[in-house]
Symmetry: C2
Subunit: 324 residues, 2 copies
């Protein structure tokens, strides 16, 4: 490492303007307990600017004992728009309190890899990890900091319940659940299916059939053909999410089955493209009505060692469009 980067330290700033390192720290951190003369303050700021001084985070964190860093752990490989939107609003709220929010996306072999905690000391984990995923839970626990869960087990099943309930109201007496193929979604998919099962049980319907919809047009076509052979329309199709729903609708179109008359389709998430399917997609949406400032406060409280707060309540609603 010959061209090692020379790090500018607060000592150099202090030397440059003829004060002590303590004074530099007081000025740069705006320490309210210290009264610094305007001239000194100006001198320090000027010197820091000239030298392009950036405090070295690890030293600050080591000495002060805490970092104002929240790490969001997303166990999925793709980031759906809803989560991205929530995290963006959360980030805004956190940054008003001086906290930063970064993301760790995807989950990796715990055993074979270096754990990020070797390089990174968040004060709190904001977790989208399922309760029933032991690997993922071990991963986040290894940070050894409070964990703030962002998904409530109840909401997971509630999606299936509201989908099934809506289609029942629309007159369907047979329900089918369309699930994705991706491994990282199976756990959540199973929870939503469980919600649909409950609707069927409560309404004395036959339990829902399950169709796995592959991610290719050809694959989806075959899966839907197989489904139609087993379960002739009419039926209501509760889909794991909007992507699965749009794939299923394309396959239904390929099979000549009219939506929403023969089969009604309902998705989940209300992704931007949901309005642009043909027909446009009826879907379940999470309105996380929890005020973000409040959420940020709870997360910060968790980061300071209070027991991990409440899961933010989500309220579900249905966006009615043309597909159901």
């Amino acid at each position: 490492m010959e061209n090692e980067h020379h790090r500018i330290t607060s000592a150099e700033v202090a030397r440059a303007c003829g004060v002590s390192r303590a004074t530099v720290s007081y000025v740069l951190n705006n320490d309210p307990r210290q009264h610094i003369s305007p001239e000194t303050r100006e001198k320090v700021l000027e010197a820091a600017r000239l030298l392009n001084y950036q405090p070295f985070a690890p030293a600050r964190v080591l000495r002060s004992g805490y970092s104002q860093l929240a790490l969001a752990v997303l166990p999925f490989e793709q980031v759906d728009p809803l989560i991205a939107g929530t995290l963006k609003r959360l980030q805004d709220a956190l940054s008003e309190q001086g906290y930063s929010l970064i993301w760790h996306v995807g989950l990796h072999d715990l055993a074979s890899q270096v754990h990020p905690s070797a390089n990174l000391a968040p004060a709190v984990i904001v977790s989208y990890v399922d309760e029933d995923n032991p690997e993922a839970n071990a991963f986040i626990r290894q940070f050894n900091v409070p964990i703030f869960p962002m998904i409530s087990p109840k909401a997971r099943e509630a999606v299936g319940e509201i989908q099934g309930g809506y289609l029942y109201e629309r007159g369907f007496r047979r329900l089918v659940f369309a699930s994705p193929e991706r491994d990282d979604l199976q756990s959540l998919s199973e929870a939503r299916l469980e919600g649909v099962r409950r609707v069927c049980a409560a309404r004395k319907l036959a339990p829902p059939q399950v169709a796995v919809i592959p991610g290719t047009r050809e694959g989806a076509r075959e899966a839907v053909a197989a489904l139609l052979a087993q379960a002739p329309p009419p039926f209501g199709l509760c889909c794991y999410n909007d992507e699965v729903a749009i794939a299923a609708m394309a396959a239904l179109a390929d099979a000549g089955v009219p939506v929403p008359t023969a089969v009604s389709v309902i998705g989940c998430d209300d992704i931007p493209l949901a309005q642009f399917s043909i027909p446009s997609l009826t879907t379940v949406t999470f309105s996380n009505s929890y005020p973000m400032d409040q959420l940020a406060e709870n997360i910060i409280a968790a980061s300071q060692g209070e027991p991990a707060g409440e899961v933010p309540p989500t309220s579900l609603s249905i966006v009615v469009r043309a597909s159901a």
Copy 2:
């Protein structure tokens, strides 16, 4: 902060098994220059496990002088699947070298907020920031570490060129560019439009008209109606990306314009839903053929102070489906 979290230190591990802190460090880091007896090694590992010892990253980074942490900065608020996929593969390659990859998504007021570098010391920035975005560039420069750019200016315009060239080949002599509304995409959109302009200039066609496609079905319908009034079919529609393309196709369907005959539509990204539009979407895809191991090596080299490496070459190709 009454319930302050007690941090287990290497000194406690050392005390627990009756060795020095140095030995603990040697064992835990598998220092190849030290020969530790198997019994001692076992004792240390056992004690560390029992105490659930996690080394404190800031101390390690401060002392050793480097962190094995790459921070990907994505200036968008949504993360498109292509970037997520690339970063996932990159993360796998980096983690084989002991590096971790985390994401910073979205850009925030530089002035008003605490910069993440106060809490976080990446060794390198992996940047999706445009060259011509001064705010974003200031943001990433403030980390004061090498920056590894992930987008090449050439590839940005090449998308428009390949779209326009393809539609020209298919016989279209009038080209239209469909751009998104979102602010954070304008810069890239303009670059792709520039590529289409070049095709028109080279082929002696009139310059492309531009239609801004809103994110709502109604808005898209109106925008497309306005476009059709100005530019009656046939024409070729080069779209900023697949989402815009699918929105435009829905609006064309609403207007009764047949695709691909009257208007041919081509997108960009090959998102999972591209195969499920009606008709299925022809689109440009980036095959980042760069071997990820190589890319990871370049990034690590950049993190060690070598001048930021080459932009990974991307090759563009067209996935031909039904829309063009």
